[in-house]
Amino acid sequence: MTAFRAVVLEHFRRPRNRGAVEGATGEAEGANPLCGDRIRVQVRVDGERVAAAGFTADACAVCIAAASLLTERVTGRPVAEARALSVDALHEALEGEPPPGRKRCVALPLDTLQRALSTSTGASG
């Protein structure tokens, strides 16, 4: 088993930060229109930091693993750092890249997180 697959399965079976965020200040929902992945990301921004991030998803293993890793990575970090996260950084966290047809499964949680941060009432900048 590749490292990528091992990471994906681990986070798919035991996703971190799955569920609603109490006192969320921002939220966004996103979908991959053809494969049907659907995800909602919620954040609670406190000052300049992401105090909490969570997600709810009816999505594939890659998408859920990416959301799990992503929310783990941004929790407690500065909003500016979360906004600067790239798909490449997520690939690194996943210890590999998905096949070409599945790259949008990684991009979806990131895009949804960025929109959630933009809608956050506690967002700065």
Partner: protein, 302 residues
């Protein structure tokens, strides 16, 4: 023929008068359940039936034709000898009693129209309804009508399209659910009562997950199956089926078992879905699924 209640407010409104015929009693082995209805319009239009067909319905139509002109109500008692009984499905003869009542669909205060509309409204809201009618001889006929089965269909593919078409004929309500806007469209599902786009597990959970609800997973995609099943396995839905082979079903159960669901709970998920009628085409699969839903509802499938 509970669904014909709805026609009181639609097609039959075009009629000046309608006779509502209700099977209120049957001895012997009736081919239809007590409560079956037939509507005979002043124009000659006939909807429904109080038996499977043949002599009894013909006699009721004849009596209704007279009543639609004269007005009022009448309790018909129709005896059947064995030959006739065989012809129409009453295998051991007997007697049927049919109440015929004249109603004016355009009159909202007509007592028959009003009671049917009230019942239709309750059924449309997913609640049981009751029609109470004095038979005129000291007896009262009380018809307890269960709400129609609601099918929550997850996955807006070809099998779902066939399901909505066939379910309409079976007088079942259908809700098609998918996360994909291009699939879950009104154009693809003209016969569905509702078409919903969003997070399938959340949409499913927003409905009454009671015995009268059947959940049919035909997405054939674990991304919807797992979250929907997590929300449903411990609910009271009357039917829970998932498209897929035994092997695939076992894999999904194994994943959910790891999350703490018991074997007994997981056994509720019917996979492979549907009765085995040997068909592979989408409409054939849909037919087998609906056959199983009916069989479970009527206690003929374990």
């Amino acid at each position: 023929m509970n669904g014909l209640l709805h026609t009181v407010g639609t097609d039959l409104e075009k009629e000046k008068a309608v006779v509502v015929a209700t099977l209120v009693a049957a001895t012997g082995s009736s081919s239809k359940k007590v409560g079956a209805r037939m509507y005979v319009g002043a124009s000659g239009r006939i909807l429904g039936g109080v038996t499977i067909g043949g002599c009894v319905d013909a006699q009721v139509v004849e009596a209704s034709d007279a009543l639609v002109a004269e007005g009022g109500r009448k309790l018909l008692s129709i005896s059947l000898d064995d030959d006739e009984a065989w012809e129409i499905g009453l295998t051991c003869g007997g007697t049927v009693e049919v109440l015929i009542e004249r109603a004016v669909p355009s009159d909202p205060n007509d007592p028959v129209v009003r009671s049917h509309r009230e019942a239709a409204e309750r059924l449309a809201a997913g609640e049981p309804a009751e029609l109470t009618t004095a038979l005129g001889d000291g007896r009262t006929f009380v018809d307890h009508i269960a709400p129609p089965t609601t099918l929550l269909i997850v996955g807006a593919g070809q099998i779902a399209m066939s399901l909505t078409r066939l379910a309409r004929e079976l007088e079942m309500r259908t809700v098609v659910i998918d996360g994909r806007e291009r699939y879950a469209t009104r154009e693809r599902f003209p016969d569905a009562d509702e078409v919903r786009v969003g997070m399938p597990s959340e949409i499913v959970a927003s409905y009454s997950l009671a015995k009268g609800t059947a959940v049919i997973l035909v997405a054939h995609d674990y991304k919807y199956e797992l979250p929907v099943l997590r929300n449903l396995i411990r609910s009271d839905v009357g039917y829970l089926g998932m498209l897929g082979s035994r092997k695939r079903g076992a894999a999904v159960r194994a994943l959910l078992r790891d999350e703490g669901f018991s074997d007994e709970e997981l056994a509720r998920v019917r996979t492979p879905i549907g009765l085995d009628i040997g068909g592979k085409a989408p409409a054939e699969v849909a037919l087998s699924i609906l056959a199983e839903v009916v069989a479970v509802r009527s206690g003929k499938a374990t």
